[in-house]
């Protein structure tokens, strides 16, 4: 029975089911209170967690997002039920950390992870086309490195406790979300009172949706970066059928909920600086390709015992802190004054630095 279910989840229908689930649940989470065109965004939500912990002090993006917690724990539950919880670590963790940092800096230049790029497009935000084009470009560069022998080396089986660090961390975050302690008068935990960080679905709805997605994504290995990589590397359309299902179903769900509004300027939590929407996601796509998974996939892997994926996640959270402390992240368009948003000169420099670092990683870490 377990084997038959595993074969189903590994089939085309399985991956489409995961895409459909995300495509329905993300717009519903938005309806239930999450920010616009951000029913789910792994990068944004990790950034909000960094803010809630006080790792950055951008007051409008601070909240411990239960979806992130539930993605990891949903994957842990699935992996335990199907005997796939395999503690492993040791494949160039420091490189994965650096890739996580720059993946986040690139994502926040665009203002979204690949999931949110799809959800933004499904909500009518045409800037997402630039972001997705950047993602494809970044993954294309990564695929050239893979073809030339790039890899980060083997991981090793390790102690069970190693595999439990990320699930346990998530339980700790859940406790902080529930009890919201104030550790000092003007210190963490911070929850935004205005801005995107203040917009959130009720706790149990966020947790429930996150657990369903975490479970399905662990079983089906849903991955946006992988979907592009597999098409380019070997003409394999398996994963991309799930990504396509996500986009189509999210668009239909948004239509039904009246959440579609086509345009470039003034889209919710987005800017219409075309070049940096594109280049931000080139950087993110390349970093994901070099690390072997999109931000969502890294969370699910960290839930099934992959310590290296956990290090990538911690790198992303650290990158979010840099992005806001150093003013690297994108600023949304200012609709009231008609000003196009974008990123600061520091943000531009950081994206270019990230591209150089990723190229060096891709060029130097290969088997002869």
């Amino acid at each position: 029975m377990s084997e038959r279910l595993t074969r189903f989840f590994a089939s085309r229908w399985g991956i489409v089911l995961a895409g459909v689930a995300i495509g329905v649940l993300a717009p519903l989470l938005q309806k239930a209170g999450n920010p616009q065109n951000m029913g789910i965004c792994v990068a944004c939500f990790e950034r909000d967690i960094a803010g809630a912990l006080g790792l950055h002090r951008a007051a409008v993006v601070q909240y411990i997002r239960p979806e992130i917690i539930a993605f990891v724990l949903g994957a842990t539950i699935a992996a335990l039920l199907f005997r796939e919880f395999k503690p492993r670590a040791g494949s160039a963790p420091i490189v994965r950390f650096v890739l996580g940092v720059f993946a986040m800096i690139g994502s926040l230049a665009f203002l979204g992870c690949p999931w949110r790029a799809l959800l933004r497009l499904a909500g009518g935000d045409l800037n997402a086309i630039l972001g997705l084009a950047g993602l494809v470009t970044g993954v294309t560069i990564g695929v050239q490195f893979l073809k030339a022998g790039y890899n980060l080396g083997r991981s090793s089986k390790t102690y069970a406790a190693v595999g439990w660090i990320m699930p346990a961390t998530m339980i700790g975050l859940l406790l902080l979300r529930i009890f919201a302690p104030k550790f000092s008068a003007d210190g963490a935990i911070f929850f935004s009172e205005k801005g995107p960080g203040s917009l959130h679905a009720p706790l149990l709805i966020s947790l429930g949706a996150g657990l369903v997605i975490g479970f399905l994504a662990q079983r089906t290995r849903f991955c946006t970066m992988g979907s592009i990589r597999d098409v380019l590397l070997m003409g394999d359309t398996h994963l991309i059928s799930g990504v396509g299902a996500l986009l189509v179903v999210a668009f239909i769900t948004n239509l039904l909920l009246g959440q579609v509004n086509f345009g470039f300027f003034g889209q919710p939590v987005a800017h219409s600086s075309y070049l940096w929407n594109f280049l931000g996601m080139v950087l993110a796509g390349l970093a994901f390709a070099l690390a072997g998974g999109c931000p969502g996939r890294q969370l699910f892997l960290s839930g099934e015992g992959d310590g290296d994926a956990g290090v990538f996640v911690l790198g992303m959270i650290t990158g979010a802190a840099f992005a806001h402390n150093f003013a690297l992240a994108g600023s949304p368009d200012n609709v009231a004054d008609g000003i196009v948003g974008g990123i600061s000169p520091y943000g531009m420099a950081a994206v270019l630095l990230g591209l150089v670092v990723c190229l060096v990683i891709g060029l130097t870490m290969r088997e002869k």
């Binding site: 595993t6 199907f82 890899n151 083997r154 991981s155 290995r221 990589r229 070997m234």
Partner: protein, 69 residues
């Protein structure tokens, strides 16, 4: 004598890349060693797509895929 592809510890797409390379070299049977069910399914799908048959054996937490054509 089977050609052995030791992909243990590699995460995807590495096991698939190594397997495809071995299949293209054309020396069968090929034995691919992997550790995760994800890699097993990915290698199986890639090999079947290239017109090969795949049999799986589980050996103490490791998985051995035997690929023939």
């Amino acid at each position: 004598m089977a050609k052995v592809v030791d992909a243990r510890g590699f995460s995807c797409p590495q096991p698939v890349i190594l397997t495809r390379r071995a299949i293209q070299e054309g020396q069968f049977p090929i034995e691919v060693l992997v550790e995760t069910v994800t890699s097993r399914e990915n290698v199986r799908r890639a090999a079947e797509k290239l017109g090969c048959q795949v049999e799986v054996e589980e050996m103490g937490g490791e998985l051995k895929l035997t690929i023939t054509k």
